[in-house]
Amino acid sequence: MNIYQEELLDHYENPSNYGTLPNPDISHEEDNPLCGDQIRIDLLVEDDKIKEVRFCGHGCTISLAAASMLTEEIEGKSLDEVKQLSKDDILDMIGIPLGPVRLKCALLPLKVLKAGAYGITSWPGEEDK
C-alpha cells in the first residue's frame, strides 16, 4: 500500500481546520527534532468540550494530514474523551502502515495536543517506556 494515497493527499492539499484562533484557551506548539516539522494547535474549550480547534505549521504530507484528521476527530468532543486518543487511533485514521521515522511524523499532532491540553510530554505510545 502506498503512503501517498488519495485520502492523505487530499488532507495535505486541503487541510481541515488550518489556521489559528484569535483567543484560544489552549495554544501549544512543538517540533519534531528529527526533521524539523513544526505543528501548533489552538483550542477553544467550553464546558470541558472542544468547541473550536485550529492547527498550523509546516511539515510533510503525513504530519499535516494527521493534524487535519485529528482536528476533525476532536471537534465537539469532551476533553476526557480526547485524552483517551492513542497512537493506534491515529494509525487507524491514517490507515496505512508506517515505518518508525514516519510514525513520528504521524504522531506529532497528537503529541502537541496532549502536551498542550494535559501536559503529557511523552510521545504517544511511549508513555511508560
Binding site: N2, I3, Y4, L9, E13, L34, C35, G36, D37, H58, G59, C60, T61, I62, R102, C105
Partner: protein, 414 residues
C-alpha cells in the same frame, strides 16, 4: 603509488559482490554518505572469524586466540598503509568517527585546552565534529570560532587568516562536507594552522572512503573516520594521531588491555595503541574493516573517485533539467565528492524521500546531523543523494524519474 596502473571500475563485476543488488529491479541505493553496503568478501572475512577462530585477542595462549590477535593486528596494518601512517601503532581502533573525535576532545583537549583558548570549526561540521568541542569548551572556558561558507558552499578561506591567531589551539574540520560534498582545502588549512602553532583534527569520515588520503603528506595531527562508510561493518572506526601527541595523551577509557601494571590505587599504562583500546574491542569488525580496505584498494581509490565524478556530472546535468529544483553546494564537480543535496519547490524533503522509496530509490532527507549548516542555507532540511563505487547511471535515471513523478503527484491541483 600505482597511479600508472589506472583501470576504470568494472562496476558490473563489483555489483555482483553485493547481494543486496540482486533483486530486479535492483535497489538504487543513494544513501552512501550515511553508510555503505557490505561486499561478500567483507562478510566472509567476519564469518571466518566466527566460524573458525572465534576467541578473544591478546590474552589467549592457544592457537585460535593467536590467530585472532594476528588478524586483528593485520587489519591495523592495512589501515595504516591505506592512510600512509608512519607507524602502525598510530592507528587506534574505535567504534566510529564520533568516538575518535571524542577521544581527542577528552584526552588531548582536557590536557591542552585552557580558558580563553580558541578552537576553530566551520559551519558545515557534522554534529560529531561540533558537539565534542562544545563540551570541551564548556569544561574549559575555551571559545569556539566558526569559519563561514560562501553562497557556492565553499569554505570562506579568506576568513581563515583573520580567525587564526596565537590564541588558536585547535582547528577541527571536516575534509569533505557530508551535506554539500564540498572538498575543503585541508592542506592549506593545516599549513596555516601550524603556522600559528595550532593542532588540526581532520574529520575524514567522507574523504577516506572516496579518495586517497595521506596523513604524512597532509601533516595533520589527528584524523578520524568510520568503517561503515567504506564497505566495512558498523562498530569499527579509526583514530590516527601523531606519535608524540598520542604518547603524551592520558588514556580516554580505563579498563582491561590498556594497562601495563595495576596497583590498588594507581596503574601504569600500556604502549600505543593498547593505551587507547580499553576492553575487548570489536574484533570481527576490525577484521572486516581490514578486508574492506583490501576491497576498495583493489577496486582502486583513484578509479572510485573518477567513477563518482562521472556520476556526479551526469546527475547534475539531469537534475538541473527539473523545474523548481534547488541544488546546494558547489556546481563544479571537481570541488566535491559524489554528494548532491537538493530540494523541490514546495515539497517537503520527507515526502520526496518517501515517494522515491516506493520506487526503490533510497535517499536521505533531513538535517543530516548538520543543523548549523541548514540554518546557513536557510532550509529546514534537504534531500541528499550520495554515490559510491557500485552506483550506476541507471540509479541516477531512476532518481530523476522518481523526482519527476514526485512533482506530478504532489502538485496535482495546485
Amino acid at each position: 603509488m600505482h597511479t600508472s596502473e589506472f583501470r576504470p571500475l568494472d562496476v558490473e563485476r563489483i555489483r555482483k559482490d553485493f547481494p543486496i543488488f540482486a533483486t530486479e529491479p535492483p535497489l538504487a541505493f543513494l544513501d552512501n554518505a550515511a553508510s555503505t553496503q557490505t561486499p561478500r568478501p567483507v562478510v566472509d572475512a567476519m564469518d571466518a572469524y566466527y566460524d573458525t577462530y572465534r576467541s578473544n585477542i591478546h590474552r589467549g595462549i592457544y592457537r585460535i586466540s593467536e590467530e585472532a590477535t594476528e588478524q586483528y593486528e593485520r587489519a591495523r596494518e592495512k589501515v595504516a598503509q591505506l592512510i600512509n601512517a608512519p607507524r602502525t601503532r598510530q592507528v587506534i581502533f574505535t567504534r566510529n568517527t564520533t568516538e575518535s573525535i571524542n577521544l581527542v576532545a577528552y584526552s588531548w583537549g582536557t590536557e591542552n585546552i585552557r580558558e580563553g583558548d580558541e578552537i576553530v570549526l566551520t559551519v558545515m561540521e557534522h554534529h560529531s565534529n561540533l558537539v565534542p568541542w562544545q563540551l570541551l569548551a564548556q569544561r574549559t572556558g575555551a571559545v569556539l570560532r566558526f569559519l563561514e561558507i560562501t553562497d557556492e558552499g565553499l569554505l570562506d578561506f579568506a576568513q581563515l587568516r583573520d580567525c587564526l591567531t596565537e590564541k588558536t589551539k585547535l582547528v577541527a574540520m571536516g575534509h569533505v562536507s557530508n551535506v554539500l560534498g564540498t572538498i575543503n582545502p585541508i592542506q592549506s588549512v593545516i599549513d596555516a594552522a601550524h603556522a600559528v602553532g595550532a593542532k588540526v583534527v581532520v574529520d575524514a569520515a567522507q574523504s577516506v572512503p572516496h579518495f586517497h588520503v595521506d596523513v604524512q603528506q597532509l601533516d595533520c595531527d589527528f584524523l578520524a573516520f568510520s568503517g561503515h562508510k567504506m564497505c566495512g561493518p558498523t562498530g569499527i572506526g579509526v583514530l590516527y594521531g601523531k606519535m608524540e601527541l598520542l604518547e603524551e595523551m592520558p588514556p580516554f577509557l580505563g579498563g582491561g588491555s590498556m594497562i601495563r601494571s595495576v596497583e590498588r590505587d594507581i596503574s601504569s599504562y600500556a604502549e600505543l595503541p593498547a593505551k587507547f583500546e580499553a576492553g575487548t574491542p570489536s574484533i570481527a569488525e576490525a577484521i572486516g574493516l581490514g578486508q574492506a580496505v583490501d576491497y576498495i584498494t583493489q577496486a582502486n581509490l583513484a578509479a572510485i573517485h573518477v567513477h563518482e565524478q562521472e556520476l556526479l556530472k551526469y546527475a547534475h546535468q539531469r537534475l538541473k533539467e527539473i523545474e523548481g529544483i534547488t541544488l546546494y553546494g558547489p556546481s563544479a564537480p571537481h570541488q566535491k565528492t559524489g554528494v548532491i543535496s537538493f530540494n523541490l519547490d514546495g515539497i517537503h524533503p520527507h515526502d520526496v524521500a518517501g515517494i522515491l522509496d516506493t520506487h526503490g530509490v533510497a535517499l536521505r532527507a533531513g538535517h543530516h546531523c548538520a543543523q548549523p549548516l541548514m540554518k546557513r542555507l536557510d532550509v529546514i532540511a534537504t534531500v541528499r543523494a550520495s554515490f559510491y563505487l557500485y552506483n550506476t547511471v541507471e540509479d541516477v535515471d531512476r532518481l530523476y524519474e522518481g523526482l519527476c513523478r514526485t512533482q506530478k503527484l504532489m502538485t496535482r491541483r495546485k
